[in-house]
């Protein structure tokens, strides 16, 4: 089967980007919207066609999903090492194509309503197309370097979109923060990529992920496995560094600080980039290299992934409890859910049912993309109506916004893991996998599940129930262009869990069947319902319980409310240490010491020349005297020294 046409999936948005971007000032709003949506629609249709072809027609040969690669050389490093560009079709890339296409199309549709009347409408759609292009390229990458290339492009489109409201100082700061933090993580990623290239001799995913070669120390890619760095194999180090890159983009602790601030961007952007697609790129990256992570040195790197993921999900859930900005709550929730996915990857095995963690992680990625995008779009709809992000300004909106209310509720139920919504199935698989391999992480995630349910319903009740506020204009339901994507996503969130995911996605590409683990499901649903119930008691009607609890936990509350002061720590490091203690002295050093030395040399020359110039008075007499003295001295020298 020839999948060459999939190259069009990223190229169509690129063309749209060029058309809209080059004429950003000329194209009218409705034209830009239509061009953008149509472009993405084409890509979406192609993606779904690809998925259909791959999963149901040609992908499976003898029960194993095949990997299709189409590529061309882009640049040669050495005679053996080169960067290729191309498309790689395998279960996870096709699954990601579907996710990206669906969410992106919904966000495009939604944006036509949400951004209506905005000055930079065309620019916004150009950026969205640029992002879609980069994300598709990332998903379809055939090798590490290609993924790095699109990784950076995704980063820059994220930067542009966060800074979309470029006259707003907080948006500028947030975009800068996002770019620099992820850039810092990418520094690790890049070093990791270069290390892999150097020690294995290839960047190619197919070669790198070959399980037979990975288990055979004589194979070319394992030739340098014996080279160590700080007690670990260099390849393990490289994998950890690559994971640092993934952690940066996926907002894992401690590189998560940019994600909450990134909410300064327009809400559709938050839904698309900072909830559903770009932030899961880190998960996708680890999944891409999963065989390597798993086989190299018994999966030490994978353990790092598991613990970082687990810890991130816990800390994010705790912080989310106390926040008031509804988008930030969702952002921390995103971070927490991505932690879940990372953790699931980390504890996964390779073959057959062992690979449940991997499957679950991808499954959760899929379902989470749907319901989290829905949550963000719903939040956007609310913000659109209330013109505020803050929970205190909302309440009782269910009467004004029925569609938003119901869709939001579905998404909240999904994320809380209530059956039969999508989140229940994926979360259940994750917990089951964790239970099998790592009890500690299982209990952590179990608690997180409860916390998730609690803060999501705190949010839900806070917005749609609770005390009714006085609104300047009466809130109204959003236009159809916005509610249509909400309804579509709500349907998907409700039913996506029924997809037999393990049939399609598994680490060894074979596929297997799973069933619901009743005991674990009972536990997780139990704690979920408990969380919802507590939220119900505290927030459905206006009560003072919340305040009492808050004051009871005073110190702890303050810490979580301030996100454990991690931002302040970073600020301290960058402002006080890097800027003030390093960059400033460097600039000073250059002006005064280096340049000073050069000037000193120059000035000394000038001074000396001035003194010499004094001797060079232009008075013939002085010259004559000097001349005669010289003659006398020379004669004396001849007399006394030469003889």
């Amino acid at each position: 089967m020839d999948f060459t046409y999939t190259i069009l999936i990223p190229l169509i948005p690129l063309a749209v980007f060029l058309i809209l971007g080059l004429n950003a000032l000329k194209i009218k709003e409705n034209v830009a919207g239509i061009v953008g949506v149509l472009g993405l629609l084409a890509s979406t249709i192609l993606s779904f066609y690809t998925a259909f072809q791959y999963f149901f027609k040609v992908g499976k040969v003898d029960g194993v999903y095949q990997t299709f690669v189409e590529k061309t050389t882009w640049m040669n490093f050495t005679d053996t090492l080169a960067i290729d560009m191309g498309v790689l079709i395998d279960p996870i890339s096709v699954m990601m194509l579907v996710v990206v296409s669906t969410i992106s199309l919904m966000v495009h549709l939604y944006s036509r309503g949400y951004m209506h009347g905005d000055q930079g409408f065309t620019r916004f759609f150009a950026y969205l197309s640029l992002f879609s292009f980069s994300m598709y390229g990332l998903v379809l990458a055939t090798n590490l370097f290609q993924i790095y290339i699109f990784w950076e492009l995704v980063g820059v489109s994220s930067f542009l979109l966060i800074g979309y409201y470029y006259t707003k100082p907080s948006a500028i700061a947030a975009s800068k923060k996002a770019f620099i933090v992820t850039r810092f993580a990418d520094f690790g990623f890049l070093v990791g990529v270069i290390m892999i290239g150097f020690y294995t001799g290839t960047f190619d995913f197919v070669t790198l992920n070959d399980p037979i070669a990975l288990q055979d120390t004589a194979s070319p890619i394992m030739q340098n496995i014996g080279v160590t760095f700080m007690g670990f194999s260099v390849i393990t180090t490289a994998l950890v560094l690559i994971f640092v890159g993934g952690a940066g983009k996926s907002a894992m602790f401690p590189l998560h600080i940019w994600l909450p601030d990134a909410m300064e961007g327009p809400t559709p952007v938050s839904a698309l980039i900072h909830a559903a697609t770009m932030v899961v790129a880190g998960v996708y990256l680890v999944a891409r290299l999963f065989p390597m992570f798993h086989f190299i040195e018994g999966g030490i790197a994978l353990e790092v992934v598991a613990y970082v993921g687990g810890f991130s999900s816990l800390i994010a859930a705790v912080i989310a409890l106390t926040q008031y900005d509804i988008k930030r709550i969702l952002a921390f929730s995103t971070m927490s859910q991505i932690g879940y996915m990372m953790m699931a990857l980390g504890i996964s095995g390779y073959g057959g049912v062992e690979g449940l963690g991997f499957t679950a992680s991808m499954f959760h990625l899929f379902t989470h993309a749907m319901f989290k995008a829905l949550l963000f779009l719903g939040a956007g709809s609310v913000i659109h109506a209330v013109h505020s992000n803050v929970l205190q300004d909302m309440g009782g909106l269910r009467k004004y916004m029925p569609i938003t209310n119901i869709t939001f509720l579905i998404a909240a139920l999904a994320i809380a893991g209530v059956p039969p919504f999508a989140g229940f199935f994926s979360k259940d698989e994750i917990l089951a996998a964790a239970y099998e391999s790592n009890q500690l992480l299982f209990w952590v995630e179990w608690i997180v599940a409860g916390l998730t349910a609690f803060y999501m319903f705190r949010l839900y009740f806070g917005i749609f129930w609770g005390k009714e506020r006085v609104y300047k204009h009466a809130p109204h339901e959003s236009p159809l262009s916005m509610t249509l994507p909400l309804m579509f996503l709500a349907v998907v969130s409700a039913i996506a869990g029924l997809v037999p995911f393990s049939q399609f996605v598994s680490p060894d590409l074979v596929g297997y069947t799973t069933h619901i683990h009743m005991d674990i499901a009972a536990m997780s649903v139990g704690i979920g319902v408990l969380g919802i119930a507590i939220a119900w008691i505290m927030y459905k009607k206006e009560t003072t319980i919340a305040d009492k609890i808050t004051s009871a936990f005073g110190f702890f509350y303050k810490w979580t409310y301030n996100k454990f002061y991690i931002d302040e720590l970073y600020l301290f490091i960058t402002r006080q240490i890097i800027f003030k203690r390093i960059a400033q002295p460097f600039a000073w050093f250059d002006k005064n010491v280096v340049d000073g030395t050069m000037n000193l040399i120059g000035n000394t020359t000038v001074d000396i020349s001035k003194k010499i110039k004094g001797a060079q008075s232009g008075k013939v007499q002085d010259y004559a005297f000097a001349f005669i003295s010289g003659v006398v001295i020379v004669i004396m020298v001849f007399i006394y020294f030469m003889n």
Binding site: S617, G618, V620, Q621, D622, A624, F625, I628
Partner: protein, 105 residues
Amino acid sequence: MIPGVTIYEILTVTTLLFFIGVYGFVTRKNLISILLSVELMLNAVAINFVAINKYLYPDMLEGVYFSVFIIAVAAAETALAISIIINLYRLVTSVDVNVTETMKH
């Protein structure tokens, strides 16, 4: 050859004259005085030529020739120098070397 006078004595006198000229050349500020000192030095040298010719090579006359040349050149030089000085005086109404430094610029 002067009876009873050695070449050493003659050269001593000319040396003294020469260095008196040097002293004058360097210390004087007035252009004419400087020219005077130059004349002193030239004459001292001319005597040297003559004396050495007479004492060491009495059969030849090269010393005399050169003395004549020196005198001729000195005359030419003086004439030219004085004309320059006069012209300069017209321009800056001074013949002080320090003042005439302005010519350098």
